[in-house]
Every structure is written in structure tokens, then in C-alpha cells.
């Protein structure tokens, strides 16, 4: 038996390998990762790691020796160059690795802005990105964050805590407008502004040169460091896809013996970039390889820690028509409802005790 080759050593790849071993899988398990680092908690990059509260070894998913102890061959710093579906091999460094089952868990990569790539410009996706960003943030640093999504807001929060002067530039007229609606977005922006962050909405960037962003209309915003936080794109090109790899609810792709999970997968019809989804999808893939196919259909869930708020969202807001907002910028519940009065998603801010109820409500609605 040639075993399972998992391409990608993020949460999805790691969890898939662990679940295979925990389920009694006896054949070789190889996890191939493009980064040099053993699997780690990516969510910490914008928070505890960036803040200097945790070192790299404190955000590893498992202690460094754990993988070998469980007979999992971690091959790090070796991006897979090609997948041959007919001969059932992957190519790394001109070497061929055979597989009987292949799992694509290559995740996503940070989206960049065309033409923006000069000195002082950062993205945040990998530990290496976080190292570079961290070393550029000092008390008094002028940090510009382009994009008021969750990563942008978390970095802004951490950097402000480190004493940086932060300016957020957002193209929409409210932060998180598409995901959470303008009313919620503006409530959050109000909180950011109270904590000395400059939030500029409806902004179009004309150009970025070292140390300065020029906006449409002629305004210039100076910076020491600039973070482009405009989302991520699935790294799905190994199988020839550009917008994610479609799978069923067990992670099976159209190719026999080939699976996908995590940020790269359009899993059971939807692509979700959340920790819990990556973990659940990976476990479903492992179960399927073990001969016990178990669909993963849980409502998406994610959290974000920023500016003293713990935001937690259950469900997906796509298609919402009515918003019921209860509370203010220190604590709120936003309920997203469709035309038939059905709750699609609930976003909670500093209301951890309501998460369970929201989950149950969405599970019964599904």
C-alpha cells in the first residue's frame, strides 16, 4: 500500500492525518507543507503571535516530536509541484511520492492588490508574513491597514495595543458590510474609532509608493508599514481549478481517491474559511478514507478577537433581508433573517453564553 499523501500542513492537513491515525489507519501517512514550520494555529498570527505574547513553538498544533511519534511523515518546506492523477503520484523536488488516497488541503493565499508591492507592504497569511509584520510594528509606527475585514481589524487592534498609529482604509462605506451588514459594520467602526484608530470608509486607492498611499481625490496617507488585508484566494491550482475544489459533503472530489478539505475546498457546495470547518471537514475526509463516510454539514462558525470584543458568528448571512440588532458597541446580538422569517446567522459580540442557543437554533432550522 502506498498510503495517504496530504498536500498542505495547515489545520486541515494536520487534523486529517491525526484522525486517520486515531481511527486505526495503518498505511503510510505523509503530510507535505510548503512552509518550513510544523502545523500551527494560524488564527494566532494576527493576535497573540503578532502581539509578542506567544512564540512560534507556543502556537504549534502539536509538540514538535508528536508527528514522528505517530508515524506521520511531515515533509516541510517542500511545495508540491504537480499531481499526476493517472499514475497516482505527486511530484516534489523532482521526486515522486505515490499515493492510494490523496488529500488536497493547500488552503488559501492572501489576495494582493495589483501593482502594490513596494517596500513596507505586507500581507498576513503565513508565520513568515507575521514575523515580517511584527518586526515592522513599534510604538509610534504608522501602520495603514487596507481592508476592514476580520484580519485587518484584528491586526489593527493588536498594533494599536503595541502603540502603533493605525489607519484603516476600506473601499466599502461600512466595514464588513457584505458579511455583517452596514449597521453592524458601523457599530464596530465606532468602537475602533474610540480606541484611537482612524477609520476611513468609501476609499479608493490611487497608488502606493514607499511610505505613502495616494487616494483618489488627492489625499496622501503616510505609512511605515502597510498591510493589504483584502481576503484570500483558494490555492486550488494543483487540480486545475481557480475558485476552489468542489467536493461532496464527505470531501470527495470528482477524481476517485482524491479528496479536498479546508479553505481550498468548496465542500458540499460552499467554501468556508473557518477554523471549525477546516477541522470538521478534515475529520470527515479521514473517516471516508477509513471506510466510514460521514458527511460534514455543520453550520459555519467563527470567532474574531478585536478591540476588546469577542465576535462569534454562527451560520452564513448570504441572502439575509432583515437584521435584528440588540445592544451596542460593547455587547450586541445581530440576527440575520430571510424573507420567510428564518434565521440564517447570528453574530454575537461579547455574549459567549448565547452561542450554544444560536447553534441549536440554526441546527434545528437546517
Amino acid at each position: 500500500m502506498s498510503g495517504v499523501v496530504i498536500v498542505g500542513a495547515g489545520l486541515a492537513g494536520a487534523r486529517c492525518a491525526e484522525t486517520l491515525r486515531a481511527g486505526g489507519y495503518d498505511d503510510p501517512v505523509t503530510v507535505v507543507g510548503g512552509e518550513r514550520v510544523a502545523p500551527y494555529e494560524r488564527p494566532a498570527l494576527s493576535k497573540q503571535f503578532l502581539a509578542g505574547e506567544k512564540a512560534g513553538h507556543e502556537i504549534l498544533l502539536r509538540p514538535s516530536g508528536w508527528w514522528a511519534e505517530h508515524d506521520i511523515d511531515l515533509r516541510l518546506g517542500e511545495p508540491v509541484e504537480r499531481v499526476d492523477l493517472d499514475r497516482k503520484v505527486v511530484e516534489i523536488h523532482g521526486q515522486e511520492l505515490p499515493w492510494s488516497n490523496l488529500v488536497i488541503a493547500t488552503g488559501a493565499r492572501a489576495r494582493r492588490l495589483p501593482g502594490v508591492g513596494c517596500e513596507g507592504v505586507h500581507v498576513l497569511r503565513t508565520l513568515g508574513d507575521a514575523v515580517a509584520l511584527r518586526s515592522s510594528i513599534r510604538p509610534g509606527t504608522k501602520l495603514v491597514v487596507v481592508g476592514a475585514g476580520f484580519v485587518g481589524a484584528e491586526v489593527a487592534s493588536t498594533a494599536a495595543g503595541l502603540g502603533a498609529h493605525v489607519t484603516i482604509l476600506e473601499a466599502e462605506t461600512a466595514p464588513l458590510a457584505r458579511v455583517a451588514g452596514a449597521e453592524v459594520g458601523l457599530t464596530l467602526a465606532e468602537r475602533w474609532r474610540k480606541q484611537e484608530v482612524v477609520v476611513r470608509l468609501g476609499i479608493r486607492i490611487q497608488s502606493v509608493a514607499p511610505g505613502r498611499v495616494e487616494l483618489e481625490g488627492g489625499d496622501v496617507v503616510p505609512f511605515d508599514a502597510l498591510l493589504v488585508a483584502v481576503g484570500a484566494e483558494p490555492a486550488s491550482e494543483l487540480l486545475g481549478h481557480s475558485g476552489g475544489i468542489p467536493t461532496d459533503a464527505c470531501g470527495r472530489t470528482e477524481h476517485p481517491g482524491v479528496f479536498a478539505c479546508g479553505d481550498v475546498a468548496v465542500f458540499g457546495g460552499r467554501r468556508v474559511e473557518h477554523w471549525t470547518s477546516a477541522s470538521g471537514q478534515a475529520a470527515a475526509v479521514a473517516a471516508t478514507i477509513l471506510g466510514r463516510p460521514t458527511p460534514y454539514l455543520d453550520a459555519p462558525y467563527f470567532w474574531s478577537d478585536q478591540f476588546g470584543l469577542r465576535l462569534q458568528m454562527v451560520g452564513t448571512t448570504a441572502g439575509w433581508r432583515h437584521l435584528e440588532l440588540d445592544g451596542g458597541s460593547d455587547s450586541f446580538r445581530a440576527r440575520y433573517v430571510d424573507d420567510d422569517g428564518r434565521t440564517l446567522a447570528v453574530l454575537l459580540a461579547n455574549r459567549p453564553r448565547e452561542v450554544g442557543a444560536a447553534r441549536r437554533e440554526l441546527a434545528s432550522a437546517a
Partner: protein
């Protein structure tokens, strides 16, 4: 005179090379791309910065005389 003794946990090192940038005379990356020591001890205080700059926290510096961790 040697003031500091240095240890690298090679199971944690992930080859970022920040230590080499801090103190090229003490640290180097080997053929596997992992950090290695060119000397076992030094009196160069910059090794404390190197330990602090390691993203993985793989470097520990000790006071040679007392054997206690230096910071």
C-alpha cells in the same frame, strides 16, 4: 571571556534565519536550512536579541558563570 552559553532546540527551528541576521558570527544555517552554532559561547550581548527575535523561541541563552537563563 565567555559570558553566555547558547542552546538551539533544533526540533523547533524552522529556518527563518532571524538569528543569523542578528549575529552572523555566532549562528549559521546548515545544509538542512536549520540554525546551528558556530561557537558554543560568546560575550556578545547581541545573542540575547537573537534569542528574542527567533519566531519559534528555539534559542535559549544562559549565563555561563551561573548556568541561569539570561534575559
Amino acid at each position: 571571556m565567555t559570558t553566555y552559553r547558547i542552546e538551539i532546540d533544533r526540533s523547533l527551528c524552522s529556518g527563518f534565519g532571524s538569528c543569523v541576521e542578528e549575529v552572523p558570527g555566532v549562528f549559521a544555517l546548515d545544509g538542512d536550512g536549520l540554525a546551528t552554532l558556530l561557537v558554543t559561547g560568546t560575550d556578545d550581548e547581541a545573542v540575547l536579541d537573537a534569542a528574542g527575535s527567533c519566531p519559534m523561541g528555539a534559542i535559549t541563552v544562559f549565563e555561563a558563570e551561573t548556568g541561569e537563563e539570561a534575559s
